[in-house]
Symmetry: C2
Subunit: 313 residues, 2 copies
């Protein structure tokens, strides 16, 4: 039986710092309705979908705390969970997580069509810095506001109604790290879902990158890693001018050949949909990227044996 | 001082099984002359440049043995080494190697402008099979004809005349394996040189791939890995209809953003040239892909801990 899953990338336009939770959730509900109306079974929302990308600001106290969810779901986001369940649609959504012990993570959950959380992931590759950069209007303080994810990269099985795909979650910067994809691929991943908030300039303080090249990088990372791991990839932005700081768009659905089959054209709320044949992963997994036949881990030692680059020649 | 190295990708058209060594070498000399005439300091030739891609045939005895080089250089290829030295041009070239102990490898060397071999590499990711596939006209018998490379992925320093780049070599199928690139990147690679012979159909016996998608894969692998490892990549084909079997072209020079800056347009002997600013690697290496700041090897254990995919969910 063909395993064809209709997936929506629900790109979001900006969430301004002044926007209420209710206004943001209402937009997400509209995206959900549109996606469901177009037959999507799984809707992928961005990273930190319920809030502005607050790591661009040096914050403390009540405003900072207010960006974290202390439970998932919770009353503020329950309408999304409830409506998705009514529609029989699952979703991926990213959010800032505060645990009962006070630990903070940049997290995402995948929710099944019955409204239950199937899997949770905490972002491993936190970009940015702990200390703010002096003189910069916009910061990238994820290393300050979050702990490194402690989940590793745990593949999970999507529901039978979706064709039972082996799935993985990544968040934003993770998608640029081939190690993350490979760890999932070594568990047989067929569908990678990813949300992001990526600045339209270099958030690390460089001066050589603009919106065009950064959108290209984002799409290229999804394409290259989808191909080399023989998996579908759905990579979804929060985009546009958020609090005066630009975010790239380019949300895309990429097939296991690395071909972009659908891509957002705006920097606003926008749904793009594709039918994803999960069995299209088989060609890569059984032939070119038959890992058991072709990988040579005895030569990969540096990947786990060292962290930084070591130039010795 | 800017470190700008002018590099030529010297794509070769097909080497027919019936072609003499002299005829093939004469074509390589013409490519070398053209590249040097256009100011190239480094010329990248394909994998198995001196012969046809003989792993497509089930061979034995004298014909098979005749495809291997028992020394490098040797009288048959000396004219290439000599002329390159006269021109003050270095090169990368792939060849079938037979050691004094009778071991066979799919190898490549990088030769400096003074004619000396700077570094040698033996292909780690051998595709194909040991046993021929019954009923197929064309085989992929690299696993039969070569041992797995025993060099690992050793970065080396290019000559001062080239700006002293940290370099790495890959051969063909290696370029599709992000582990190979990463091991080099963990040694600071700034310039990856690669030769390939890639079939225009699926050499593993699948039926879903054609020349277009396979050329796309080849370019995408160079782009995605160049970007994610913040390195230049020069990836060069033997192309066209060789012994009745198609080989893709698409030889390309890719910058550390993953952007193709030059690409061959034919399936024949063709030189493309680009000025490669080695310091363009710095943005990636110091910011987004600052490995020491951002990698999390504690979560990469499967990459070295297992070979094949293990689906357990």
């Amino acid at each position: 039986m063909p395993r064809i899953l209709r997936i929506a990338a629900a790109q979001m336009g900006p969430n301004q710092r002044a926007d209420t939770r209710e206004a943001i959730l209402a937009r997400m509900l509209r995206l959900l309705e549109e996606a469901a109306g177009r037959g999507a079974q799984l809707v992928v929302f961005p990273e930190l979908a319920f809030t502005t990308f607050f790591p661009r600001w040096l914050l403390e106290g009540a405003e900072l705390d207010g960006y974290y969810e202390t439970a998932m779901p919770n009353p503020a986001v329950q309408p999304l969970f409830s409506r998705a369940r009514e529609l029989g649609v699952g979703f991926y959504v990213g959010y800032a997580e505060m645990t009962a012990e006070g630990k903070r993570f940049n997290s995402a959950v995948t929710v099944g069509p019955d409204g239950t959380i199937i899997a949770k992931y905490r972002k491993v590759h936190l970009p940015g810095s702990v200390e703010p950069r002096v003189g910069d209007r916009f910061q990238q303080l994820e290393k300050r506001y979050f702990e490194y994810g402690d989940t590793g990269f745990p593949a999970f099985r999507g529901p039978a109604a979706w064709g039972g795909p082996v799935m993985g979650m990544l968040i934003c910067n993770d998608r640029r790290w081939p190690e993350a994809w490979r760890v999932y691929a070594l568990q047989g991943v067929e569908l990678m879902v990813i949300g992001y908030n990526s600045a339209a300039y270099d958030p690390n303080g460089g001066s050589t990158e603009n919106e065009e090249i950064r959108t290209f990088h984002s799409t290229l990372a999804a394409q290259g890693n989808a191909y080399m791991n023989a998996t579908w990839a759905v990579s979804v932005a929060k985009a546009g001018d958020e609090d005066g700081s630009g975010l790239i768009g380019g949300s895309c659905i990429v097939d296991p050949n690395g071909v972009v089959v659908a891509q957002a054209k705006t920097l606003a709320d926008e749904v793009v949909v594709a039918d994803c044949d999960l069995d299209a992963c088989r060609q890569g997994k059984e032939k070119m990227f038959n890992f058991a036949m072709h990988r040579r881990p005895e030569h990969y030692g540096r990947i786990t044996g060292q962290t930084g680059a070591e130039v010795t020649v």
